[in-house]
Amino acid sequence: MNMNDTSALAADPGLTIAGKTYASRLLVGSGKYKDLEETRLATEASGADIITVAIRRVNIGQDPNTPSLLDVVPPSRYTILPNTAGCYNAADAVYTLQLARELLGGRNLVKLEVLGDEKTLFPNMPETLKAAETLVKDGFDVMVYCSDDPIQARMLEDLGVVAVMPLASLIGSGMGILNPWNLSLIIEQSKIPVLVDAGVGTASDAAIAMELGCDGVLMNTAIAGARDPIRMARAMKLAVEAGREAFLAGRVARRFAASPSSPMAGRVA
């Protein structure tokens, strides 16, 4: 964070997940870009430290020397967060993340998402809870895509996951924060980080999530699908920072009356 003219302010200490602190509270996906160069540039512009990736079968017969995602977002520079996108039951999700841990040299930080159906990509919470329990017992640090239901979020926290990540609206929908009240309930009760995962459409959505008190925001489509993804990546970085600062600063109370900003005394009228 650039603190040039506000050096008296304490810097935001950053986002701590599973004992490790990350400077950026914006987490980004690496899907839907037009090519790897755009992925690289947008990821850099976002300032994100944590990048999600998908785990997929190698195309047998394809030239094995074509550049790969991990060449442009190297694990030496970024924390790679493997996901379970496309998994519809606990067993597939657990298997995918066991492969991911081997692929990433034993790193335990993972993003669990077990989907309910293709139309909504809503989480299947019973399967999500089952997978979370297995993964936690197996030593994974599990960040979980979940419904914005405070009871399910608490169940996940009780299982020992390291972050809950409720959707703000449907994955890839860009519909923004549809139920800030549920998010607030989850934020209020949780002792682990709460991140909005899914639904952000533009910068103001990310700022609203942070102003509510979210610890971070995870997004992919809002950046990769923008007309200029690299510029939107920077917009999201600024929005997350602005929203966090506003949360820390404490907004004014809403009131149903005007309150003049200029003093009444000494006016010439």
């Binding site: 996906g29 690496s30 899907g31 839907k32 870009y33 992925t39 999600t52 990736v53 998908a54 785990i55 997929r56 079968r57 190698v58 047998i60 094995p64 020397n65 790969s68 995602l69 991990l70 790679i80 493997p82 996901n83 996108a85 298997y95 066991q98 492969l99 991911a100 841990r101 081997e102 692929l103 990433l104 994955i171 890839g172 995870l218 997004m219 992919n220 489509t221 990769a224």
Partner: protein, 66 residues
């Protein structure tokens, strides 16, 4: 013999191990993870992990995703 590689039939010589399969696929040294019959096999154990008829082998990598 015939194994199933990433969901498709794949012919392999009798007595081949995982290390030989990965080398034949030109994937040696690449960022891939491998499982046999849904059990992950760490890369240091590929040599000597013999494959048998109808084994299901998954070879995966990281790609863009959200």
């Amino acid at each position: 013999m015939q194994i199933e590689l990433n969901g498709k039939p794949h012919a392999l010589s009798e007595g081949a191990d995982l290390a030989q399969l990965i080398a034949a696929l030109d994937l040696r040294g690449k960022a891939v993870a491998v499982a046999v019959n849904r059990q992950v096999v760490p890369s240091q154990l590929w040599a000597g992990r013999l494959l048998a008829e109808a084994d299901r082998v998954d070879v995966v990598r990281a790609i863009g995703g959200g």
